[in-house]
C-alpha cells in the first residue's frame, strides 16, 4: 500500500488513522488471497453447522416461494385504484406452489381450495411465514401489505405507521424502513391526502435511493400538490410504459394531458375495489366539498346533500340556490373532470368553493332509463380525484338514499334484470346469442328489447323479448309491428339507426338497430329498443347496443350454423371459432364465403372438409338454396364433389357448365394440392382452370387436437340424443387419452370410438381405463404419451391451447398430462423450443400454395 494512494484517498486522515487503515487493508488482502489460494484452509467441519446451513437454504427457498404467492394473491385482490407497489414478482405462481407442496416441509400443507377466496389464502400464507421462522421485518412488511389491500385506507395508514415504528425499533435494515415508508406514502395517497404523503419527501431523501417505489410515490404526491418541478426530478427515472399506474392517476393523465410525460405507465386491469367501501363523506376523499343536487325543471337545483368545509357551506348553498337554469350540467352523461391549470387566473367553472378548488368532478345521477336527473359534485384543493368507478358508486349510493326517502325521480342503481321470453326451441344454440346480446344491454329497467330475425323459411319473426309488459300475450301483439320494421330495414340500404314509432301506446320513443354482416351487405336481424315510460332512450344505451351487435356478429353466425345442423339431421357440430385452425383461416373463410368461384378443399378423408364446405355455404349468398353432395340432378345452391369419385367425362361436363355461367357454388374435395392431383390424373386441366387458384387446406385431426375435447362432448351428445340415452361424462384424464391419439381415420374414427363409449357407459362417468379398454377391444394402437424427445412444437402449442384456464392463462400441469409427460419435461421443452419455433408452427396450417 503506497503512501501516495492513502494520501490521495485520505488526505485529511491523521497518522494514527492511516496506521489503522493500513492494518484493515492488510486484513482485507489476506481475505482476498485466501479466496484465491486453491488449497486453502478448510473450515473444521461441523455437523450442526452443516445441518443448519441446509435448513437455512431450504427456509430461504420456502420464504421466496411464499413471497411469490403473496405477491400473486395480493396483486389479484389489489384494486386498480390502489397506489401500493408490490415490486416485481420474485417467483412465478405455479413454481412457488410446486416448491411449497412437493419439496418443502415449511410451507402451507395444502393448495387453495377451488372456491377459496384469495383473502383466506393470504391469511394461510402469512401464518405459514410466521411458522417458518422468517425474519420479523419480512413478516411485518407482508402483513402490512396484506392489511393495506384488504382493509380501509385509514387502517392501512395506521398499519404502515406501526410497521415503520417497529422496523426502526427493531433495528431493521434501511431497505426495510424504505419499503415501509413507501407503504405509508401509498396509504396516504389512497386517503386522497397528497400533502401529507409529500411531507415524507423531506424526511426521507436517502431512503428513496434504496426503494424506487418510494421515490415514484413521492413524485406523484409532489405532482398532485402542484410541485411540478420536484415531481419532474423525482419521476425522471420512471419512463417504463409497462409499469403499473394507479387508476386515479391514469384518469388524471387523460384529463390533464400536459402531465402525460410524468405519469407514464399502464392502467391496471381488473374490477373496481372489492375491499371495504368508503363512506361518502368529503374527508374520506380529501375533498373540500361533496354535494348531490337534483334538477327541478325551471327552478334552481335542489340540494340533496352538501358536505362542505364550514367556511364554504353557506357560500355553496347560496350559489346553488341562486343558480340560473342553464347552470346545471344538463348534458352530463358520464363522469366529468376539470383541473385548474397553474396559468389559469380565475376559478373553475361551476366550482362551488371558488378559487380554492383545484380539481372538480361531476357525476350524473341516472334514473331507471338512464336519464340524468341530477349530479354529484366533488371539489378538492389538490389534483387527486377518486377514479370514475368510485365516483359512480357514490352516485349510485345517493340514488339508493333517495329511494329510501320515497323520491320518485331516481331508482336503485342495480335493479333486477328484466325477464326474457325466447321463442327458440329448447337446446337451440342461438339462445347463447340472445343471452349475450341482452346481457350487454344491462338491467333494462323501464325498457323493452326485441330481437327479430328470419326463420328457416326466411320469414321475419320476433325470436326473443326482454322486459316489456308482464303478460306474454301482450308481448306477442307487438311482433307483427317489429317484423314490419325488419322488412323495411332489409329493403333500405344505407341504414344505421332508425327512430321508430312506438310499438304500443305506453312507449314514447324507440330505435331499431340492425345486425349487419361484417361487409355491411346483409341485414341479419334487428334489435328494437323501446322505452316503456317517459324520456328518450339514453345515448349510452344505444351506443352499447350498437357495440354489442358489432361484437356479436361472429357469434350469430356460429350459433346459427350449429342450429341449422341440429335442424337438418339432429346432429350438433363442434364449431369453436376460437380454436387454432378456425381462427387461423377465418380471414380466408370470410374472403371465400361470398365468392362463387369453385374451390378445392384439400385434406385427408374424415378431416372435416364437408363441414367446412357447409360452413361456407351457410355464410355465402346461396344459403337459402340447397346444399347437395355428389352428382344429384337437383339444382343446388352449393354442390360438393369428391375428386376421387368423378371421372374425366364428368369433370369436363362440369368445366363446360362453369364456362356457360352455372350459378352453383362448387366445392371439390381433394386429398392433395391441385398440381399433384393433376399429375395423378385425378383433376382435369379444363376444370382446374375454373377453380380458385388458392385452395383451402384442412389439416388432419392430429394437427387440430385442441378441437378434440369439444368434439368428443358433441359426438357423445349426438349419440345420446339420437338413441335416447343418458349423457355419459368424460373425465378429464379420459379426454387427455383421446387427445393424444393419432386419429389417422380422422373424425369418423373418433366418432365411432366415442359412440361406443357413450353407449357402453350411458349416464356414467368415463375414465381413462375405459378409454384404454376400448382401444384394446378394437386392437387399435394406443399412445400413452407423445414423444418427448424432439417433440413437434405444434403439439406443445396445441396442448397449451387445449388446457388453458377459463381466464386465458396457461395450465402447464394439465398440458403436461395431456401430452403424457411430467410437468418438468414440458417446462424444459418449452424453454428449448422458444417463441420462434412456436411462432413457426403457426404457419403449419393455412391455405396450401397452388
Amino acid at each position: 500500500m503506497g503512501e501516495d494512494v492513502l494520501a490521495l484517498l485520505l488526505p485529511e486522515a491523521s497518522a494514527e488513522e492511516r496506521s489503522e487503515i493500513r492494518r484493515v487493508i492488510t486484513a482485507l488482502r489476506l481475505l482476498r488471497d485466501d479466496a484465491r489460494i486453491r488449497e486453502a484452509r478448510r473450515v473444521e467441519p461441523s455437523w450442526w453447522n452443516a445441518r443448519r446451513e441446509l435448513e437455512q437454504l431450504e427456509r430461504q427457498r420456502c420464504a421466496r416461494a411464499i413471497e411469490g404467492l403473496l405477491h400473486a394473491y395480493l396483486s389479484a385482490v389489489r384494486p386498480p385504484s390502489s397506489f401500493l407497489d408490490l415490486g416485481p414478482s420474485p417467483m412465478e405462481h405455479g413454481a412457488a406452489w410446486r416448491i411449497l407442496l412437493c419439496e418443502s416441509e415449511f410451507g402451507p400443507t395444502r393448495p387453495p381450495d377451488p372456491l377459496e377466496p384469495p383473502q383466506a389464502v393470504i391469511e394461510r400464507l402469512l401464518a405459514a411465514v410466521r411458522k417458518s421462522g422468517a425474519a420479523p421485518e419480512w413478516c411485518d412488511l407482508w402483513s402490512a401489505r396484506a392489511d393495506h389491500v384488504l382493509k380501509a385506507p385509514a387502517e392501512a395508514e395506521q398499519r404502515w405507521k406501526n410497521a415503520l415504528r417497529s422496523a426502526r425499533a427493531g433495528g431493521a435494515g434501511p431497505q426495510w424502513v424504505a419499503r415501509c415508508a413507501a407503504g405509508l406514502v401509498a396509504s396516504r395517497l389512497e386517503r386522497f391526502d397528497p400533502a401529507r404523503a409529500f411531507a415524507l419527501h423531506s424526511a426521507a431523501p436517502e431512503l428513496m435511493a434504496l426503494e424506487p417505489s418510494l421515490r415514484r410515490a413521492l413524485g406523484w404526491a409532489a405532482l398532485l400538490c402542484g410541485a411540478v418541478d420536484v415531481a419532474r426530478e423525482l419521476l425522471e427515472p420512471f419512463r417504463d410504459p409497462r409499469a403499473r399506474l394507479p387508476l386515479p392517476l391514469a384518469e388524471l393523465r387523460s384529463s390533464y394531458p400536459e402531465w402525460s410525460g410524468l405519469l407514464t405507465g399502464t392502467k391496471p386491469e381488473g374490477a373496481p375495489s372489492s375491499g371495504p367501501t368508503i363512506r361518502a363523506e368529503r374527508h374520506n376523499f380529501g375533498a373540500l366539498l361533496l354535494g348531490a343536487f337534483v334538477r327541478q325543471g325551471g327552478a334552481p337545483p335542489r340540494v340533496l346533500k352538501l358536505d362542505a368545509a364550514p367556511d364554504l357551506r353557506a357560500r355553496a348553498q347560496r350559489l346553488v340556490g341562486s343558480a340560473p337554469i342553464h347552470w346545471a350540467p344538463w348534458d352530463l352523461s358520464c363522469v366529468r373532470r376539470l383541473h385548474r391549470h397553474a396559468s389559469e387566473p380565475g376559478p373553475l367553472p361551476a366550482a362551488l368553493a371558488g378559487s380554492r378548488t383545484v380539481a372538480l368532478a361531476q357525476v350524473p345521477l341516472l334514473d331507471a332509463s338512464g336519464c340524468s336527473r341530477g349530479w354529484l359534485q366533488l371539489e378538492s384543493e389538490h389534483h387527486l380525484l377518486p377514479c370514475s368507478a368510485q365516483l359512480e358508486a357514490e352516485a349510485r349510493a345517493c340514488c339508493r338514499a333517495l329511494e329510501h326517502e320515497n323520491e320518485g325521480l331516481v331508482v336503485v342503481g342495480a335493479p333486477t334484470p328484466a325477464p326474457v321470453w325466447s321463442l327458440y326451441s329448447p337446446g337451440d344454440p342461438r339462445h347463447e346469442f340472445v343471452r349475450r346480446l341482452f346481457g350487454a344491454l344491462g338491467p333494462l329497467s323501464g325498457l323493452r328489447a326485441l330481437w327479430v330475425e328470419p326463420d328457416e323459411q326466411g320469414i321475419e319473426r320476433v325470436r326473443a323479448i326482454r322486459g316489456g309488459p308482464a303478460g306474454e300475450g301482450e308481448a306477442r301483439s307487438q311482433w307483427a309491428d317489429a317484423s314490419r320494421r325488419f322488412r323495411e330495414l332489409r329493403e333500405n340500404a344505407g341504414y344505421d339507426c332508425l327512430p321508430t314509432e312506438p310499438a304500443n301506446s305506453s312507449a314514447k320513443k324507440g330505435v331499431v338497430l340492425p345486425l349487419a354482416d361484417a361487409r355491411g351487405v346483409r341485414v341479419l336481424g334487428v334489435l328494437a329498443l323501446e322505452s316503456e315510460s317517459r324520456g328518450i332512450l339514453p345515448a349510452l344505451l344505444i351506443e352499447a347496443a350498437r357495440a354489442a351487435l358489432r361484437a356479436l356478429e361472429p357469434l350469430w353466425w356460429f350459433t346459427g350454423f350449429r342450429a341449422a345442423g341440429l335442424l337438418r339431421d339432429g346432429n350438433d357440430l363442434a364449431w369453436e371459432p376460437e380454436r387454432r385452425f378456425l381462427s387461423t383461416i377465418e380471414p380466408a373463410l370470410r374472403a371465400t364465403a361470398d365468392s362463387r368461384t369453385p374451390l378445392l378443399l384439400v385434406g385427408a378423408p374424415g378431416s372435416g372438409r364437408r363441414t367446412l364446405a357447409r360452413w361456407l355455404h351457410f355464410r355465402g349468398p346461396a344459403a337459402g338454396l340447397a346444399f347437395v353432395e355428389g352428382r344429384d340432378i337437383r339444382e343446388a345452391g352449393t354442390r360438393v364433389l369428391d375428386l376421387d369419385g368423378i371421372d374425366r367425362a364428368t369433370q369436363l361436363e362440369l368445366a363446360l357448365a362453369l364456362a356457360q355461367g352455372s350459378r352453383e357454388r362448387l366445392f371439390l374435395l381433394g386429398s392433395a394440392p391441385a398440381h399433384v392431383l393433376r399429375e395423378r390424373g385425378l383433376l382435369e386441366r379444363e376444370l382446374e382452370r375454373h377453380m380458385d387458384p388458392l385452395p383451402l387446406a384442412v389439416p388432419p385431426l392430429c394437427d387440430r387436437r385442441d378441437e378434440i375435447p369439444a368434439l368428443v362432448k358433441v359426438l357423445a351428445g349426438n349419440v345420446a340424443r339420437r338413441e335416447s340415452l343418458a349423457l355419459a361424462d368424460f373425465q378429464d384424464d379420459a379426454l387427455a387419452h383421446l387427445w393424444r391419439q393419432s386419429w389417422r381415420g380422422g373424425v369418423p374414427e373418433l366418432a365411432s370410438l366415442v359412440g361406443q363409449l357413450a353407449r357402453a357407459h350411458s349416464g356414467r362417468a368415463i375414465g381413462p381405463a375405459d378409454v384404454c379398454a376400448a382401444f384394446r377391444a378394437r386392437r387399435l394402437e394406443f399412445r400413452e404419451r407423445l414423444p418427448s424427445l424432439r417433440p413437434r412444437p405444434l403439439d406443445l402449442e396445441l396442448a397449451l391451447a387445449t388446457t388453458r384456464h377459463d381466464v386465458g392463462s396457461e395450465n402447464r400441469a394439465r398440458a403436461a398430462r395431456y401430452l403424457g409427460w411430467d410437468p418438468g419435461t414440458l417446462e424444459n421443452r418449452l424453454r428449448e423450443i422458444g417463441p420462434q419455433e412456436a411462432g413457426r408452427s403457426a404457419g403449419d396450417m393455412g391455405p396450401v400454395p397452388a
Binding site: M1, G2, D4, V5, L8, L9, L10, E17, E20, I21, R23, V24, I25, T26, A27, L28, R29, L30, L31, R32, D34, A35, R36, R38, A40, R41, R42, V43, E44, P45, S46, W47, A50, R51, E53, L54, Q56, L57, Q60, A135, K161, L164, R165, R168, G173, P174, V177, A181, L184, R196, A199, L200, S202, A203, A204, E206, L207, G824, N828, E832
Partner: protein, 169 residues
C-alpha cells in the same frame, strides 16, 4: 456436513468461487460460499438435464451461492465472514465483527466503486495506471475508491432516524 461428505472439491468449484469474487470485486468468506455452492449443486442436481453444459451450470450455481452469501451477510453481519476474518484481523488488533459488517456494506456498493477500491487499494496497481486503464480521471477514480475506503474508517450514520417525526404527523 458437506465438508465431511465432500472433503475435496470434486466439482472444481473453488476456482470458480475465487474467480467470481475477483471479477465482482467482493469481500466474502470464500469457504462459506464454496459450501453454499456445493449444497446448491446437490439440491439442484436433479433439475439438470445435461443442458446447459456442466461448466456453465456450475457457474450459475456459484453465482446463486454468492448472492445468498451477500444477502445473508447484509441481513445479519456475522457468521462465516466473522470466523474467516478472525484469524486475519485479530493478530492485527482489529475487531472482526466490525470488519465483517464493513465488508457486508462494501459488497452492496455499486460495482464501479468496489472495482476501483480493489484495484487501487487492495491490488495497489498504481493510481495513474488504474485511471488510464479505465479511461477515468484520477480524481474520479479516487472518488470511487474512497467510497469503499470510507466504509472501513468509521461506523455508518443511522440514515433513517429522523423519519419518526414525519411519519407520525
Amino acid at each position: 456436513m458437506l465438508a465431511r461428505i465432500v472433503p475435496e472439491d470434486p466439482l472444481g468449484l473453488r476456482p470458480l468461487v475465487a474467480a467470481r469474487l475477483g471479477e465482482q470485486a467482493l469481500l466474502c468468506d470464500a469457504e462459506g460460499v464454496l459450501l453454499s455452492a456445493q449444497a446448491l449443486c446437490a439440491l439442484q442436481a436433479s433439475t439438470w438435464r445435461g443442458e446447459p453444459e456442466l461448466a456453465t451450470w456450475l457457474e450459475s450455481q456459484v453465482a446463486d451461492a454468492l448472492l445468498v452469501a451477500i444477502g445473508e451477510e447484509s441481513a445479519a453481519p456475522g457468521g462465516g465472514l466473522v470466523e474467516a476474518l478472525r484469524c486475519f484481523a485479530e493478530p492485527l488488533a482489529l475487531d472482526p465483527c466490525r470488519l465483517a459488517a464493513a465488508c457486508a456494506r462494501f459488497n452492496r456498493l455499486p460495482f464501479e466503486q468496489r472495482e476501483a477500491f480493489y484495484a487501487l487499494v487492495l491490488d495497489a496497481d498504481g493510481a495513474d495506471q488504474c485511471a488510464r486503464a479505465r479511461g477515468l480521471s484520477l480524481s474520479e477514480l479516487a472518488r470511487r475508491a474512497r467510497a469503499g475506503l470510507q466504509l472501513f474508517r468509521r461506523a455508518p450514520a443511522v440514515a433513517h432516524g429522523h423519519l419518526r417525526t414525519a411519519s407520525a404527523s
